[in-house]
Amino acid sequence: MALSSFRDACPTVKNILLLDSEGKRVAVKYYSDDWPTNNSKLAFEKALFTKTMKTNARTEAEITMFDNYIIVYKFIQDLHFFVTGGDDENELILAAVLQGFFDSVALLLRNNVDKREALENLDLIFLCLDEIVERGMILETDANVIAGKVAVNSMDPAAPLSEQTISQALATAREHLTRTLFQ
């Protein structure tokens, strides 16, 4: 990857990890070939988790250097957020990515940030990761913008009603009804 090989290139994110309080995956995304197999990824996650689990990264994001990577991380409840970059990366840029991820997840989960809530809204977490980094390149770090892009309302606002088939309209109505009932 020509992108990550020299400093003159863009800031590059190597992976974003969301692990639980036992180091198990909630959602992870790798953007680099540094870990070619699932086992090497798991080994990295395990080592990183063990190294950081005892630190207090709850009020401020923490940072560590390990295996020639810079990793910034932050914990809340039983969730551990990590962002990894090369050892030459500007630490503060990685911290901005972490903060963007952390805050947008908090927004999307309406501040109930824990593992259970995260798993129940895993689709939102996946979409969130997708909006932050595209193949290592930072897309967006502003949590409000990220959360805004993820939480779109269900219907295509551009589709005129006439184009919908009767069945679709019915389905929509039914869904709408169930949602209002269950809220």
Binding site: P11, N90, E91, L119, L127, D130, S167
Partner: protein, 887 residues
């Protein structure tokens, strides 16, 4: 302190481990994926199934080719739904499945439709998906839309197209390069992230065109860049331009003002990027450094660990090259030793070790001792290395530092960590004579309880070399013989060799050693027995006190003068033949140049146990071997000094050449290390033509060309000059590389028959006075100074004229003389108006020289120096003054 969520309801306790994905199974989910085929799509249900599929993939589950294809086809049905949420999941799923080329066709039209949708979200995402899965043919079809998207008024769409462009540039550069105009327009965007992405892409498009990059930087540094990320990029590009234009500029550095201005930016990431860029400028002056150091110092006391880490890591790097610049931060740095974050604490410690002065060593060591127990091995190694260099800087403090090393050697630790400590002790023993005895004893104690065979054998080998030279060699015997009792066969064999060495070197110990060796004859391992037998026989094991023959010593313990590769080849031939093996028939010529890898570090970075201690500073020894293997050069004797390699070509040129100057009493030998970096060429008859018209005292003797220089395997050619004996003659030499080029067929690796004569201009090289001086330190300068007669002293005063700073003047004189600064006196305290520097060295003719330099500021920036030189030969003292007077 937030604890893991405490559940309020009791009934939820049982299911604390509840997960919506509990018991999930791939087969079942694949079954569920059939809902995608329902005529009446239920968007919610479909989204859930996709989430489950993504969850499985995310957990490391893999789909077989068939499964993936099935899922892919099912998923494509979902384009019928107009549900935005489902569409988003659909995009994710397609990206995750990374379909093959024939599958891509199925979704292309749907994606192209979305790409032109009125909904921004569809457009942006469809672009990202399409560009991810596209190939070159498809790309030309959608190129028109992508160009439009780059200048789309919606920033999300523009960013999606730009970022996709950055990735496509790797695979389809010629297409993306056509988008320059649109990208350039996007650089002016009001949206912060669009500007960032556009700048990144524009730079990548133009990165091979220096002029274009330079223009880009020039125009943007004047304008306003809104996004902090884009500003960081601009700083990186600016440093690149500075780097590339560095060679031809005098006076003020271009763009420095821009970098300095960025230190006042409101975003921390920009401030830091700029500060780091300034510290990394090549040949940065202390004036340029100051503002960057100041902002980094502020970061040190930030409440954010990330900021503290970034700052301390950068300052740590600065401390390696400009320790004085960082001393102002020492107080802030000391408070970081107790930082919660151990990475920060370690970096702070090692920075302090680099910038500290002699008086602060004891205090620092105390703080470090407390902190060593709770950091990881990798950090401990960093600390050990820092302590080693500190000890070499302040040899008088060896006692405290050696004690520290032996204490941590006793504690728990992994192999790498223990090896780092042992290496450090070995280096200290070698470089600080006073530390030898205590250091050897520490090592002896260590091997009494050492779990690492490698370290035990290396230490035993080292003991065999150093132990017999100490005042009381007998005290080591017990430790060594204990190994024969207690260890595995490898260590036992090493111990036998070490014992034999004591026997061979110390005649009074011989009878006792023989007794011990005879016991080893009954060892259970054949290697141990063989060694014992060999030594007993060659050393004369009949118990008499006889002096061991010099040849025997050389045979048993001398260095093997033959490259192992050559020996292996010869032995293979021997096995196949009938003839007796003759060690003298093994060629001594080194085939590939081992020096090329080591290059600059030379003497300054001792390699510890890795290199056999029999050959102390390994580079010098390797040079000697190389020189003595060439008959024409062997006759010159031993070189007095070999310089560090000087590059004669710029980096990344066709042929890389550097030169090492070997100084002899009556000769100078230039060793040109050449590397051919073109795979398609074979060079033959390579030589360097040297013009010495600017070096009158030198006369050409001979040139030894290099027969052949294949691609990427370095070789040497030599040129010898004669000069008046013992005189430190100086001069400039210009060099031209001459050779015959032969084309090489890259497929077969065979070279053409016919070659063409060619030559290649190299840079000039210079022989300077410092080349005649060996850097040899003394551990106690005062004693050494007083041991030389006062009659041998020459004192004079010099005005050094206007200088940038006192430190700069001190360094200039040190490098002019090429002597070793002693007791850390090369470091000048900031703001001081006077300084004393102690230097030591050995001048050509093996004359020991000591110099005491007193510097003082006489006016604004005017520096004066009083130089007192003592040496064993008064003529040399005069010569040193002459060097300074003319330099």
């Amino acid at each position: 302190m937030a604890q893991p969520l405490v559940k309020k309801d009791d009934d939820r306790d049982d299911e604390a481990e509840y997960s919506p994905f509990m018991g999930i199974e791939k087969g079942a989910v694949l079954q569920e994926a059939r809902v995608f085929n329902d005529p009446q799509l239920d968007p919610r249900r479909c989204s859930q199934v996709i989430t489950k599929l993504l969850y499985l993939l995310n957990q490391g589950e893999t789909f077989t080719k068939v499964e993936a294809t099935e899922v892919f086809f099912a998923v494509t049905k979902l384009f019928q739904s107009r549900d935005v949420g489902l569409r988003r999941m659909l995009y994710l799923m397609i990206k995750e499945l990374s379909p093959s080329a024939d599958e891509v066709i199925i979704v292309t039209s749907s994606l192209m439709k979305d790409m032109n949708s009125k909904t921004d979200m569809y457009r942006a995402n469809a672009i990202r998906v399409l560009c991810r899965i596209t190939d070159g043919v498809l790309l030309t079809q959608i190129e028109r839309y992508l160009k439009q998207a780059i200048v789309d008024k919606n920033p999300v769409v523009a960013s999606a197209a730009l970022v996709s462009g950055i990735h496509l540039l790797q695979t389809n550069p010629e297409v993306v390069k056509r988008w320059s105009n649109e990208v350039q327009e996007a650089v002016q965007s009001r949206a912060a992230l669009v500007q960032f992405h556009a700048l990144a892409l524009l730079h990548q498009i133009r990165q091979n065109d220096r002029l274009a990059v330079s223009k880009l930087v020039t125009s943007l540094t004047r304008g306003t860049v809104r996004s902090p990320l884009a500003q960081c990029l601009l700083i990186r590009y600016t440093s690149q331009v500075i780097r590339e234009s560095a060679s031809n500029s005098q006076g003020d550095r271009p763009f420095y003002d821009f970098l300095e201005g960025c230190l006042r930016h409101k975003a921390e990431m920009v401030i830091f990027e700029a500060a780091r860029a300034i510290t990394e400028l090549s040949g940065v002056t202390s004036r340029e450094l100051t503002p960057a150091i100041t902002v980094l110092q502020l970061f040190l006391s930030s409440s954010k660990p990330v900021l503290r880490f970034a700052a301390v890591r950068t300052l740590n790097k600065v401390a390696m090259t400009h320790p004085m610049a960082v001393t102002n931060c020492n107080i802030d740095m000391e408070s970081l030793i107790s930082d919660q974050n151990r990475s920060i604490a370690t970096l702070a410690i090692t920075t302090l070790l680099k910038t500290g002065n002699e008086s602060s060593v004891d205090r620092l060591m105390k703080q470090i001792t407390n902190f060593m127990s709770d950091i990881a091995d990798e950090f401990k190694i960093v600390v050990v290395e820092a302590i080693r260099s500190l000890c070499l800087k302040f040899p008088l403090k060896y006692r405290a530092l050696m004690n520290f090393l032996s204490n941590i050697l006793r504690e728990e630790g992994g192999f790498e960590y223990k090896k780092a400590i042992v290496d450090s002790i070995v280096i200290l023993i070698r470089d600080i004579p006073d530390a030898k005895e205590s250091g050897l004893l520490h090592l002896c104690e260590f091997i009494e309880d050492c779990e690492f065979t490698y370290l035990s054998t290396q230490i035993l080998h080292f003991l065999g070399i150093e132990g017999p030279k100490t005042s009381d060699p007998s005290k080591y015997i017990r430790y060594i013989y204990n190994r024969v009792h207690l260890e595995n066969a490898t260590v036992r064999a090493a111990a036998v060799s070490t014992l034999a060495k004591f026997g061979a070197m110390v005649d009074s110990l011989k009878p006792r050693v023989f007794v011990l060796l005879r016991r080893c004859l009954f060892d259970s391992d054949d290697e141990v027995r063989d060694r014992a037998t060999l030594y007993l026989n060659t050393l004369g094991g009949d118990g008499e006190v006889v002096e061991t023959d010099k040849d025997v010593k050389e045979f048993l313990f001398g260095a093997l003068e033959i490259p192992l590769v050559n020996l292996e080849t010869s032995l293979r031939n021997y096995v196949a033949s009938e003839e007796a093996f003759d060690i003298n028939s093994v060629p001594k010529e080194v085939k590939s140049q081992p020096l090329a890898e080591k290059k600059a570090p030379g003497k300054k970075q001792p390699t510890g146990l890795g290199a056999p201690p029999a050959a102390p500073p390994s580079t010098v020894d390797a040079y000697e071997k190389l020189l003595s293997s060439i008959p024409e050069l062997a006759s010159l004797g031993k070189p007095f000094k070999s310089s560090a390699p000087t590059e004669l070509t710029e980096a990344e040129t066709e042929y890389a050449v550097n030169v090492v100057k070997h100084i002899y009493d009556r000769h100078v030998v230039f060793q040109y290390n050449c590397t051919n970096t073109i795979p398609e060429q074979l060079l033959e008859e390579v030589s360097v033509v040297v013009d010495s018209s600017d070096a009158e005292e030198f006369s050409f003797v001979l040139s030894k060309p290099l027969r052949s220089l294949p691609y990427d395997s370095p070789g040497q050619t030599f040129v010898v000059f004669e000069k008046p004996e013992g005189v430190p003659a100086v001069g400039k030499f210009s060099n031209t590389l001459k050779f015959i080029v032969k084309e090489v067929d890259p497929n077969t690796g065979e070279a053409d028959e016919d070659g063409v004569d060619d030559e290649y201009q190299l840079e000039e090289l210079e022989v300077v006075s410092a080349d005649y001086m060996q850097k040899v330190g003394v551990s106690n300068f005062r004693n050494a100074w007083e041991s030389l007669d006062a009659d041998l002293e020459r004192v004079d005063e010099y005005g050094l004229g206007p200088r940038e700073s006192l430190a700069e003047a001190v360094n200039a004189v040190i490098s002019l003389l090429g002597m070793q600064p002693c007791e850390g006196t090369e470091v000048v305290a900031s703001n001081s108006r006077s300084h004393t520097c102690l230097l030591s060295g050995v001048f050509i003719g093996n004359v020991r020289v000591l110099a005491r330099l007193q510097f003082g500021l006489t006016g604004p920036k005017e520096v004066a120096m009083k130089l007192a030189v003592k040496s064993e030969d008064i003529a040399v003292s005069d010569a040193i003054h002459e060097i300074v007077a003319s330099g």
